[in-house]
Amino acid sequence: MSTTPAPARRAGPEDERPHPLPGSGGRPAGADHPGAADSTDHTDSTGTPPSGHRTRVARATALTIGLLAALVATALAAASIGAYQIPFADVIASVSHRLGAGGRELDRVAESVLWNVRLPRVVLALLVGASLGCAGALMQGVFGNPLAEPGVIGVSAGAAVGAVAAIAFGLTVFGNWTVAVCAFLTGLATVLLVYALSRSGGRTEVVTLILTGVAVNAFAGALIGLSIFFADNAQLTEITFWQLGSLAQATWPKVLAVLPAAVIGLVAAPWYARKLDLLALGEKPARHLGVDVERLRISLVLVVALLTAAAVAVAGIITFVGLLVPHLLRMIAGPGHRFLVPGSALAGALVLLAADLAARTIAAPAELPLGVLTALIGSPFFFWLLRRTRRRQGGWA
């Protein structure tokens, strides 16, 4: 092992790039040679390099703090606002009372609304949003493609097939967990299918990925349709709810049902961050840097299926959160997965909490389906993203 790599070359006169003389009037060298664009020249062999990385880390830190603050504020608002208003102070008092940290109990109605209706819904929104955001970031990393997202490529629909079938055929094999387990199994099968179909020669082409998504979504839609055909009226209502995506039936048992899958997925995900960074170099370079690419991919596919299934099992199909959230974060704090993966979980939780709050207050006393709302906002963003990608690549490469 050598510890003496090439020392920096002495910069002799012949080592310098040709420079336009000051005041010589000509075009700056940067105009035709991007390498000469910045004028802070000659730092090559001396001093500390200008680190954009540190800027990104600083931004990521600020963003994390901001997200956490916004999350607490939105959670408070979501617990307080609704048909039955509970003042912020009362929410805080009741929560700290139950945590044994002072506070006080509210009257019976307020206490019941807060603890049986609002809070399970808030917690569920946090879990589902975090799962979707995190799954989106992981999936984009695995595919090396910013357009990969559980909803877009059909994994959500695949997971929904299992869930809907479980409802329609009245399955209870796994008790309270039946729907979640079925969603996980079909979700996993779908991720594997999409992965196998859309990769060729170690790459995922945008067109192939999107078209695979179209096909998988269509097939899943047909299977869901088939389940609906066999369902009775009560099951039909439940299934419709699913397809639109909603948190309206949040209860503590539902929270418990998704908790393990979501928590395992969310805890495991950040561990893969550094390897995902390396994967951006391509499969072979990642392997040259010590990443067992096959194992990484299989592990991540499992984690994505776990997170997506957790979300879909309780909330139905909610698209675009996993697409939009990692993308925005990447624009602000760069593509490094050490921030992106946990950051997307935080931002996903925030987005879904805010969207759910909007869904149940905008048209009160009626309630908009959450999945409809996220799709309404998310689809135009997706269009924009597609067009931008197309412009950059100069075609559908």
Partner: protein, 283 residues
């Protein structure tokens, strides 16, 4: 298996064995009678080649001669059909991915990146294999020195995607240097570079060899190979047509034969360095 065990297994980080120092001239990688087919086409046919510390070995030869395939076999990217590849004294398949990453670094022909990482972030990726080892302390200096050596320090804060082809190639080389392995396998590191940076890259190769590393470099420019390599292996049709010091292997007869084009070899009047030119008609 409990969920805990499954997770531990999935996340599992097996112990690594950092490489030991090598004596000068030690064989770091070796192909023994290696044959390899890609699809139906035989690409390597009974190739034997040893890569030693302290030496720059240039792989030259016409397009499709098997240079990149041989490099891929030496870097344990491809499994050979017959014969054997040894890396640091052990069959290539006997190493874990991580252990290999501590022993050899590879520069691919084309540098790609799926997401807009910054240049210093890309170079820092070269340090990944050393995470958790004692050498982790060298991270900062390794990155800074690698960037200085390849003259990319001043675009450290720029996005890799915004660089020109030649700049990307130098950043990719910088990442490989930052990995600080004693075996460097470079596939056409000079392809996208201007004249000055071609010389720079091969000077770096020389310096690494002088520091006791083994460097294998695929080049098309025979003049560069003649000027900088300690040894040149000429490949043609998946076989080694010549292997030895530049003056012995880069002969007009051999080169004219393998390139199917008349080639002349001259000595520079002042330095005596070999100049290798295709024979051209006067106009």
């Amino acid at each position: 298996m409990t969920i805990d065990q499954v997770i531990t297994r999935l996340l599992g980080n097996r112990a690594v064995s950092p490489p030991k120092p090598h004596a000068p001239g030690a064989v770091l990688a070796e192909a023994r009678e290696v044959s390899l087919r890609l699809g139906e086409r035989p690409v390597l046919d009974g190739v034997s080649l040893a890569v030693r510390t302290g030496e720059v070995l240039a792989l030259v030869g016409p397009n499709g001669a098997g240079k990149s395939t041989l490099l891929a076999a030496l870097s344990a990217d491809l499994t050979v059909d017959s014969g054997e590849v040894l890396i640091d004294g052990r069959p290539a398949a006997g190493w874990s991915t991580r252990d290999l990453a501590l022993r050899r670094s590879v520069l691919p022909q084309a540098a790609t990146l799926s997401f807009p990482f910054l240049v210093d972030e890309v170079v820092r990726m070269g340090r990944a294999p050393w995470a958790g080892t004692a050498a982790e302390d060298e991270d900062e200096t390794a990155v800074a020195e690698a960037m200085a050596a390849t003259e990319v320090t001043r675009f450290a804060a720029r996005s890799f995607s915004a660089l020109s082809g030649g700049e990307k190639a130098r950043v990719a080389l910088s990442r490989v240097l930052a990995q600080r392995t004693s075996l460097l396998l470079l596939d056409e590191p000079t392809a996208a570079l201007d004249l000055r940076h071609q010389e720079l890259v091969l000077t770096i190769c020389r310096e690494r060899a002088a520091a006791g590393d083994a460097v294998v470099v695929v080049v098309h420019d025979l003049g560069l190979a003649a000027a900088y390599a300690d040894r040149v292996a000429v490949l043609a049709g998946g076989r080694i047509a010549g292997d030895g010091p530049p003056a012995e292997t880069l002969t007009p007869e051999l080169l004219s034969d393998v390139y199917h084009h008349p080639v002349e070899v001259l000595a520079h009047p002042d330095t005596g360095v070999l100049l290798i030119l295709p024979v051209r008609q006067a106009r």
